[in-house]
């Protein structure tokens, strides 16, 4: 299949994305957020909660005098380390319990502080690198089945039930397991602690839950002879912290979009831009594949109309990702099968869109989301729509394939739903395994024309965004029909300007795509 797209237009789009992202990157470089700072603490080994159940990173950051915050939390914390000689974890506890106050060490020389911190920074980087090496070893010993990688969600609200469901799904053919988060978590400005058994529409993302699930999947991987990946959500107000936890617990992918929280969770855009950068830097280093959320445009607005915005967002997400150091093979750009099933030739449009992304981002592990919006309580029809989605995916060589559930409109998946869904994908992708290789698209046909139109409209849209600036474009509702103000939304109070001598020891070490030397 070849859409014969205009390669110059693609180049132009990439250039425009560069122009759009550059000013935002300047903003990012000049700012930090509470969550970035808490992530630094977590990286250093701070974890746990106070007797009032406040997570230690929050308690510590709250203890940093406001004027100090602009220089980053690392420095005051390092000073205390240098003075007390405690391990970061122990120091965290002391501070949180009020037995130690950061102000006391204000006068400690910076050099001493930096010196004291260095080995903990090394330790953190080493810990993440070890996880990365482990993953590489797993993949070498227990290779996955060829893509599309079948991906399913578990979402009972209880991590122990989720564990049962995840292992069952792996046995039924799943290659990636996502633990969906509880409805409200993304709006919490802290990360819950410990194993959890109560959630709505999902299970809380906590480091303990990550570890429980990773252990269960490692055991399953060994039995199945193929590595089963684990993923979660670095989104919401704690994006960077989740990235740290994921890196520590060897998650393999993270939902980690540069604009999703802004548009779909009403999180402040400045907060999101800064947070996504730091979390992506971490993901790059940890070898975690990010998944972006363009699919969400299609659930709130018309899928046929939004196609150019999806593509534009993919270019922007790619650009942000590159700037954070992510290589192409860690950038799982998103798309979804959301065109009205009752639209004549809708399948042709879907093929056009999926193939377009494939040709424009040849090295990206594309993430393909299933039909959700047009799913109804008719599980029989739903199963068919999912089948056409599965067919499109295998035809166009998508990589990360979220399996659609026949019960999408009804409840978070039952164990049996997941089995049916995986069977659907396995059947379609086997019976039509090489169909994509067998066919050429008619020049000037519906599919080709549609792809060309989408690309041209995307270029026009990017022109507009570049002209007005990304933040203004979002305010003008150019994406997903949703308007957000630059200083509106949740979490804006957690964004602050960096002082001239701001210090972030991890940024300094330029966490990048390369393996640690």
């Amino acid at each position: 299949m070849d859409l014969r797209i205009d390669r110059r237009s693609v180049e132009r789009c990439r250039d425009l994305a560069g122009a759009i992202v550059a000013p935002v990157e300047a903003f990012i470089a000049a700012h930090s957020t509470v969550s970035v700072e808490r992530a630094v603490l977590r990286l250093l080994g701070v974890d746990g909660i106070t007797p009032q159940e406040v997570p230690l990173p929050n308690a510590i950051l709250d203890a940093v005098p406001p004027h100090e915050r602009a220089r980053g939390v690392a420095l005051p914390f390092a000073k205390a380390l240098a003075e007390t000689g405690l391990e970061p974890a122990a120091l965290g506890t002391e501070i949180a319990l009020g037995r130690c106050a950061l102000e006391e060490y204000a006068s400690t020389p910076e050099a001493a502080a930096r010196g004291a911190l260095a080995r903990f920074v090394d330790r953190a980087l080493g810990r993440i690198a070890a996880r990365r090496d482990e993953r590489a070893a797993w993949l070498a010993d227990f290779p996955q089945l060829p893509p599309p990688l079948l991906y399913v969600i578990v979402a009972s609200g209880n991590i122990y039930e989720d564990r049962v469901a995840a292992v069952a799904a792996a046995q039924a053919g799943a290659q990636v397991i996502a633990v969906i988060r509880s409805t409200g978590q993304s709006l919490l400005d802290f990360v819950p602690f410990g194993p959890t058994t109560e959630g709505f529409g999902g299970t809380y993302a906590t480091q303990a839950n990550f570890a429980i699930m990773r252990a269960a999947l490692d055991e399953a991987s060994e039995k199945l002879g193929r590595y089963v990946m684990l993923t979660n959500y670095a989104s919401g107000l704690c994006m960077p912290e989740i990235a740290v936890m994921a890196a520590f617990e060897r998650l393999d992918m993270l939902l980690n979009d540069s604009m999703y929280g802004i548009l779909f969770r009403d999180i402040n855009m400045k907060r999101t831009f800064v947070d996504q950068h730091f979390s992506r830097m971490l993901n790059a280093y940890a070898g975690i594949i990010i998944n972006t959320g363009e699919d969400n445009y299609l659930t709130t607005a018309d899928a046929v109309e939004q196609a150019p915005a999806v593509l534009a967002s993919q270019f922007i997400n790619e650009e942000f990702a590159h700037r954070a150091g992510l290589p192409d093979d860690q950038i799982g750009l998103g798309d979804a099968y959301e065109i009205d099933p009752d639209r004549e030739d809708g399948f042709l449009y879907q093929v056009a869109q999926a193939q377009l992304a494939r040709e424009i981002f040849p090295d990206a592990p594309l993430k393909y989301m299933p039909p959700t919006k047009h799913m109804t309580g008719d599980i029989f029809k739903g199963h068919l729509i999912d089948a056409m989605f599965n067919l499109t995916s295998v035809m166009t060589g998508q990589n990360i394939h979220l399996c659609g559930m026949p019960t999408e409109a009804i409840h978070t998946p039952f164990l049996g739903d997941r089995a049916l869904s995986l069977e659907n994908a396995r059947y379609i992708m086997s019976t039509a395994r090489h169909f994509g290789d067998e066919i050429a698209l008619r020049p000037g046909g519906i599919i080709e024309r549609r792809a060309h139109d989408v690309l041209a409209s995307c270029e026009a849209l990017l022109e507009r965004v570049a002209a007005m600036g990304l933040m203004a474009a979002i305010e003008a509702a150019l994406f997903a029909d949703v308007s957000r103000a630059p200083e509106g939304g949740r979490g804006f109070d957690g964004v602050f300007e960096r002082a001239a001598n701001y210090w972030n020891p991890f940024e300094e070490r330029r966490l990048g795509p390369g393996r640690p030397g």
Partner: protein, 250 residues
């Protein structure tokens, strides 16, 4: 006159039903038999386990066809649809103009931590749903869409402040009964604040039925496929009627 009807396979009154479920057991012929007996315990006869297979270690999936002797009296069922008033936007505006004599103040939100605004937006936004304009487009409605994840306290405060005539709450997430809990919290708070009678109270969402709404103390409930004009008509007719009866209002 009662008209008893039961499931229909290919012949009247054959009672044929399809079931599927998962059992937490490894598959074996005994598991098929367990599924058969289980369906028998559920009250079905002629149980045929047409499919039984392992779906994971410790879990099996079954498809069953069976006969049920149950029937219901369909004519005896009263499920008054809240969307029964078939009126166009123009007719509704005219009715409000004539019988209410002022704009109706409407507020809607997705309550609790629910962020599924597409449904309530479909009812409220200008654009509407399936070619049927939303309430914002009506001349005789003053519409406030408070968006998603709105706490019930916030919504009640707004209602009192703006003397809202019709209050619309939406819920899509139903896991562990969170929708019921949020809807109940809203109606109880309105009662507690003594403003329940001042509003036409409406809930909606994919799992909502008008009957359920009644049980929860709402004036109406709207489920999947609702069109904005159905909601607008219900509000207009209900409010006009209340005013005619001289019932208390803001």
């Amino acid at each position: 006159m009662t008209k008893l009807v039961g499931p229909f396979g290919d012949t009247r009154d054959d009672g044929k039903v399809q079931l599927s479920f998962t059992l937490p057991v490894d598959w074996s012929e005994a598991a098929d038999e367990a599924a058969r007996q289980l369906a028998g315990k559920m009250g079905f006869r002629d149980v045929q386990v047409v499919e039984g297979r392992p779906i994971a270690s410790g879990f099996s999936f079954f498809v069953i066809y069976a006969t049920s002797a149950q029937a219901v009296d369909v004519d005896g069922i009263v499920a008054p649809s809240a969307g029964a008033h078939a009126m166009s936007m123009e007719q509704i505006d005219a009715l409000v103009h004539e019988r209410v004599g002022r704009k109706i103040r409407v507020a809607g939100a997705c309550i609790g931590t629910d962020a599924h605004t597409v449904g309530i937006d479909a009812i409220l936004n200008m654009k509407g749903y399936k070619g049927d304009y939303g309430l914002e487009r009506y001349h005789e409605f003053e519409t406030h869409n408070l968006g998603s994840q709105v706490a019930v306290e916030e919504l009640v405060r707004f209602t009192k402040e703006r003397r809202i005539d019709a209050l619309l709450a939406s819920q899509a997430v139903t896991q562990k009964g969170s929708d019921i809990r949020n809807f109940t919290a809203l109606s109880e708070l309105l009662e507690a604040e003594n403003v329940r009678d001042n509003v036409v109270l409406i809930c909606g969402g994919p799992r909502v039925t008008n009957l359920l709404a009644g049980e929860l103390g709402y004036d109406a409930g709207f489920g999947r496929g609702t069109l904005p004009s159905q909601v607008a008509a219900f509000i207009a007719v209900t409010l006009a009627e209340r005013l005619r009866q001289g019932r208390p209002h803001w």
